[in-house]
Symmetry: C2
Subunit: 314 residues, 2 copies
C-alpha cells in the first residue's frame, strides 16, 4: 500500500492526478483543498471510494492533524491569473505558508515532497527556449508577482529544507497545461476560447495575439510529474511541458477548427507583464525521466472540448 | 510628537537610524529586535531615554500588543551572508512573515510603512549600473535565495498591500552600506577586512577579488532612507547607494592604507552565486529625494576603523 497526499486535489491537474493514483488498487489518496477554485465535480466521483479521503482545509493554516503518507504532491495554489490576482495577499500566503506547512509535514514524517513549480519562474524570458539553468526575468512587484515570486520562494524553501533537514524533495516546473477538469470560468486562455467558441461568442484575444505559449495535455504533464516523483537521479527543477510553441492567434484558429465554431476575434488590452513567449527545453526531462509529451494539440483539444460540451450541456 | 517603530533597531543600520531619530526631541522610538545579530551596545545608550522603548521580539511571530505609531521603518532581517545562511528557513520566515506582520500593523493603524529592500533583488546583474526598472538575475534555489527571494517577495507583499488595502508604503533598495554599529564578527567584507588589518592577519579575499561593490557610508544611506519615508512623489522602489564602484582588491588596498596595516592577501574560494558586479543608478534618488552620497570611501572608512579599534580595545 502506498499513501499519497495531494494538495489542491480538487483543482484541474490535482483532480486528474487523484483519479490516476486511485486507478491503482494499491494506492490510498488524501486530498486537501479549500475549494477556492476547485470543483465539486472533480471530487464527487471519488467520495464513495474507501481509499480516498477529502479534507477541506486552507493550507495557509497549520494542519489540524498529522498526516502519515509516503508521498506529498503539493499542488494547492490558484493557477489562473484572475483567481490568483483576486486576493494577491492570500495567494502569496498560500505559496509561502502552504509550502512551508507541507515541507514541515514531509520533514516530520519522512514523506517525499514534490513541489509543482511553474514556467512563470522564468517570467518574461530573455532566453528561448527556457532551460532549468536560466534564472528568469520576473517583475517582483507587479500584478503577477504574488504568483511568480510566490513559486520562486516556494522553490527556495524546498531547497533549503533539503539542505537544512535533508528533506526528500523534488521540483517540477510545469508549462501551460490544459484538459478535462478545468473550470469553464477558469479564466485561462484554453477554457476561455473553448467556451466562447462553443457559445458562438467572439474569442477574447489579449494584445495582438502574437505572444506564444506551449500547451501540454494534462495526461502528458501527469506522466512527467509522476515519473519525477519516483526517480532518484535529480531533485530538479525539471521542466515538464510541450516544446511545440503556438501564438494565441494559432490557438484561436485551432480551437475554432476543433469546435467547428465561427466566432470572430475580440482584441482586448494585454495585461501588464504578460510573458511574450514561452517554450520549454525538455532535455532534462528526456534524460532523467525518459519523458516527452505524446498528445498533439488538436487531439488534446478535442477531448477538452467534449468535456466542456458536457459541462455546458451543449 | 512623531512616533516611530524601527524593526531591527539593534542592528547596524537600524541602530544608526534610532540614534538619528532620537536626536530630535519631538520623536519617540520603539525598537523591535530579537537580537539574532543585533548588538547590546547598539541599544544600551538609549535605554535610559524616556522617548525610547525596546521590545525583544521575533517578528516571525505575531505582535503581542498593537503598536500605534506614525511611521514603521522595517529593517529586521539578517543582512550578512554567514548570518542569513545559518538558518535559511528562519531567514525566509523573517522576510515573509516579518514583512506581513508589519504590513498588517501599518494597515490596521494607518502608519506609513517603509521596506528596506536591497540591491540583492538584482542578483548577479546583467545590466550595469542597475536601474530600478531592471528585473534582476536571481537564482531562486541557491544558497543566497532565502535572502534575495525573501526580499523580492517582501516587495511583492508591500505593493499588494498598497494595491489591495491602500496601505501607505515606501520601498528603498539599499546598496552595500558600512560604518559604525557593525559587528566585528559580522562576516561582511568591510568588518572582515578592517578587523583582519587591525589584528595584522591576512585579508580574506574571496575569488580573485575582481568582483565589484559600491560602498555607501551609513549616514549617507540614512539620509536617503529618511528622505524617502517623508516624500510623497513615489512609493519606490528607489535605489539608495554610492555609485562609486570598487573591486574587492581596491577595497583591501584602501583599508590597508587607512589602518596603516601590512597584511597580505589570503585568497579563498568564491562562494556560489556571488554577484560579480554591482553599482546603483541613482537617477531616481536624485530626482525624487534630491539625494546623493557625500562621504568619500576613505573618510567613511576612517570613522569605521576608529569604531572597530574601540570595540577591539586596540
Ligand atoms: N495548469 C497549468 O498550466 C500549470 C502550469 C504551471 C504550474 N501549475 C501548478 O500546478 C498546480 C495545479 O494547477 P491547476 O491548473 O490544477 O490549478 P487550479 O487553480 O485548477 O487548482 C488549484 C487547486 O488548489 C486549491 N487551493 C488554492 N489555494 C488553496 C489553499 N490556500 N488551501 C488549499 N487549497 C487551495 C484550489 O481550490 C484548487 O482546487 C498549481 O500549483 C499550479 O501553480 C499549473
Ligand atoms: N547593510 C547593508 O549593506 C544593506 C544593504 C541592503 C539592504 N539592507 C537591509 O537593511 C536592513 C538592515 O541591515 P543591517 O546591515 O543593519 O543588518 P543587521 O544584520 O546588522 O541588522 C539586522 C537586525 O535585525 C534583527 N533581526 C533579524 N531577524 C529578526 C527577526 N526575525 N525578528 C526581529 N529582529 C530580527 C537582528 O537581530 C539585527 O539586529 C536589513 O533589512 C537589510 O536587508 C542592508
Ligand atoms: O486568493 C484566495 C482568496 C481566498 N481564498 C479562500 O477564500 C476565503 C475567503 O477569502 P477572502 O478573500 O474573502 O478573505 P480572506 O479570509 O482571505 O481575507 C479565504 O479565507 C481563503 O480560504 C483563497 O484560498 N485564495
Ligand atoms: O481570454 C484570454 C485569456 C488569456 N489570453 C492570453 O493567453 C496567454 C496565456 O494566458 P493564460 O492565463 O492561459 O496563462 P499564462 O499567462 O499564465 O501562461 C496570455 O498571453 C494571455 O494574455 C488571451 O489572449 N485571452
Ligand atoms: O536565522 C535566524 C536563526 C535564528 N534566529 C533566532 O534565533 C532563535 C534560535 O534559532 P535556531 O536556529 O537555533 O532555532 P529555530 O528556533 O529557528 O529552529 C530563533 O527562534 C530565532 O528567534 C533568527 O532570528 N534568525
Ligand atoms: O571576507 C570577505 C567577505 C566578503 N568578500 C567578498 O566581498 C563582496 C561583498 O561581500 P559582503 O558579504 O560584504 O556583501 P554582499 O555579497 O552581500 O554584497 C563579495 O564579493 C564577497 O565574496 C571577501 O572578499 N572577503
Amino acid at each position: 500500500i502506498m499513501k499519497f497526499l495531494v494538495t489542491g486535489g480538487a483543482g484541474f491537474i490535482g483532480s486528474n492526478l487523484v483519479t490516476k493514483l486511485l486507478s491503482d488498487p494499491n494506492n490510498e489518496v488524501i486530498c486537501i483543498d479549500n475549494m477556492y477554485c476547485g470543483l465539486d465535480s472533480n471530487v464527487a466521483p471519488h467520495l464513495d471510494n474507501p481509499r480516498f479521503k477529502f479534507i477541506k482545509h486552507d493550507i495557509t493554516e497549520p494542519l489540524k492533524e498529522e498526516i502519515k503518507v509516503d508521498r506529498i504532491y503539493h499542488l494547492a495554489a490558484p493557477a489562473s491569473p484572475p483567481f490568483y490576482q483576486r486576493n494577491a495577499i492570500h495567494t502569496a500566503k498560500t505559496m509561502f505558508l502552504g509550502t512551508l506547512h507541507m515541507l514541515e509535514l514531509a520533514t516530520k514524517t519522512g514523506a517525499r515532497f514534490l513541489l509543482t513549480s511553474t514556467s512563470e519562474v522564468y517570467g518574461d524570458p530573455e532566453v528561448h527556449p527556457q532551460k532549468e539553468s536560466y534564472w528568469g526575468n520576473v517583475n517582483c512587484n507587479g500584478i503577477r508577482s504574488c504568483y511568480d515570486e510566490g513559486k520562486r520562494i516556494a522553490e527556495t524553501l524546498t531547497f533549503d529544507f533539503h539542505r537544512q533537514h535533508k528533506t526528500d524533495v523534488r521540483i517540477v516546473r510545469i508549462f501551460n497545461t490544459y484538459g478535462p477538469g478545468m473550470r469553464e470560468d477558469d479564466g485561462r486562455v484554453v477554457p476561455n476560447f473553448i467556451r466562447q467558441a462553443l457559445e458562438g461568442k467572439p474569442l477574447t484575444v489579449y494584445g495582438e495575439g502574437n505572444q506564444t505559449r506551449s500547451f501540454c495535455f494534462v495526461q502528458d504533464t501527469l506522466a512527467g510529474i509522476m515519473s519525477l516523483m519516483e526517480q532518484t537521479e535529480t531533485l530538479g527543477p525539471v521542466n515538464v511541458g510541450n516544446p511545440i510553441e503556438n501564438t494565441m492567434l494559432e490557438l484561436a484558429e485551432t480551437i475554432l477548427k476543433v469546435t467547428g465554431g465561427k466566432s470572430s476575434l475580440n482584441f482586448q488590452p494585454l495585461p501588464s507583464d504578460d510573458p511574450r513567449k514561452r517554450k520549454p527545453d525538455i532535455t532534462l526531462a528526456k534524460q532523467y525521466l525518459n519523458w516527452e509529451p505524446k498528445v498533439l494539440l488538436e487531439d488534446g483539444l478535442k477531448v477538452t472540448v467534449e468535456y466542456f460540451k458536457k459541462r455546458l450541456n451543449l
